[in-house]
Assembly symmetry: C2
Amino acid sequence: NVGHGLAWSFYTGYLRLILPTGLEASIEEYHASRSAAVLQHRDTWKLHILIPLSCCIPDKLEEADDNISFLDNLPDITIDRAGIRKRVFKHSIYTVYDQAKRPHYCVVEYATPLVTLYQMSQEAMAGFDAEERLQQSTLFFRTLRDILESSRECRGRYRLILLDGPGTPFALSQLQGLRRV
Amino acid sequence: NVGHGLAWSFYTGYLRLILPTGLEASIEEYHASRSAAVLQHRDTWKLHILIPLSCCIPDKLEEADDNISFLDNLPDITIDRAGIRKRVFKHSIYTVYDQAKRPHYCVVEYATPLVTLYQMSQEAMAGFDAEERLQQSTLFFRTLRDILESSRECRGRYRLILLDGPGTPFALSQLQGLRRV
Ligand SMILES: Nc1nc(=O)c2ncn([C@@H]3O[C@@H]4COP(=O)(O)O[C@H]5[C@@H](O)[C@H](n6cnc7c(N)ncnc76)O[C@@H]5COP(=O)(O)O[C@@H]3[C@@H]4O)c2[nH]1
C-alpha cells in the first residue's frame, strides 16, 4: 500500500497546507502586483491535479501537449516546515488553447508522488514492477479522492483529473470547464 | 509498508535531486555572495537528516533544543518538476552550541516524511495507530539507510541521525563531528 501512504503524504504535506487559504491568497497577490487579466473568475481558482495512472510524467507540461504553454508562476507561498525556514511552495499558471485556438487559463500540475512510483519501478532494489505500479497509482487516486472529499477545508479548491484511465481525456487541452479569462 | 514507500519517495523525489551536486553548488554560492565565515571545511558540507522514530517533529529546530539556532538559508536550488516551473528546494544553516558554548555550523533538517507518518496516526480515516507508526518509522529509517548506502552519487553528502532510538543522542546539540567553522 505504497499508494495509500503517498496519498496521505500528498494531502498532509502539501494540499492541506496550501489549498485552504494559500492558493487563494497567492492569486490575489498576483492580481494586485502582476496582472488582473488572467484567472478573473473565482471558480477557476482551483488547483488542477493531473493523475496519469501510467505514472509517465514530463517535467514540463508542454512536452505532454502542444496546446498548453507555461504562462507565469504565482507568488511563492512560504511556510516553516520541519526545520526548513520559509520553505517555498509554488504553483504554475498555464495557457490552454482549445480547438478554436482560444486561450484559457488554469493552475495545473501533475501529482508528484506518481513520479516516485515510476522511479521505484525503475530501481531493481525497490522490488516494484510495472504491474504493481498500476495497482499503486490506482490506489493513490482512490485514496486521494476519498481524503479530499471528506476534507471540509479543501472543498472547492481543487480538481482531480484522471488521465490514462478508460474514457479519460487523452490530451490535457481537452480539460473541460476551463474559462476564457 | 508505508515507511518503505516514503523512504523511496524521499530519495527519488528529494535527496537524489539535491545531494549529488545541488547542495555543494548552493554552499559555494553562499560563500561567494554572502559569507565565507561558516562551513569552511568541505567535510561539513553534508545534509544532516534527523530521524526521530517518535515522528514528533517541530517546525523550528529551536523548539527541540535550546542550543540550536537558525543562522541563514542557503541560496535556493530550483528544478522544473512535474509541471511546476522552477520548484524551489531550500536548506537551512544552523548554529549549534556545544557544552562550552562554542558555536558549530551545520545544514540540518528533519526527514519530512516522518511528519506524514505522525499526521496519518492522528487521522482516524488513515487507519494507522501509534504502534504502526513506530514500525513504519523504523522501516523508513532502515530502507533509507540501505538506499543511500548503495547510492554512489549521494556518497559522503549526507548523515542520517537517528533520534529516540536506544543509545541515541537525546539532544540535537550532542551531534558528534561538527566543526567549529
Ligand atoms: N525537507 C524537504 N524539502 C523539500 O523541498 C522537499 N520536497 C520534497 N520533499 C520530500 O521528499 C519526498 C518526495 O517529494 P515529492 O515531491 O515526490 O512529494 C511531495 C509532493 O508531491 C508534494 N509537495 C511537497 N512540497 C511541494 C512543492 N513545493 N511543490 C509541489 N509539490 C510539493 O507533497 C509531497 C510530500 O511532501 P513532503 O512531506 O514535504 O516530503 C517530500 C516527500 O517525502 C521535501 N522535503
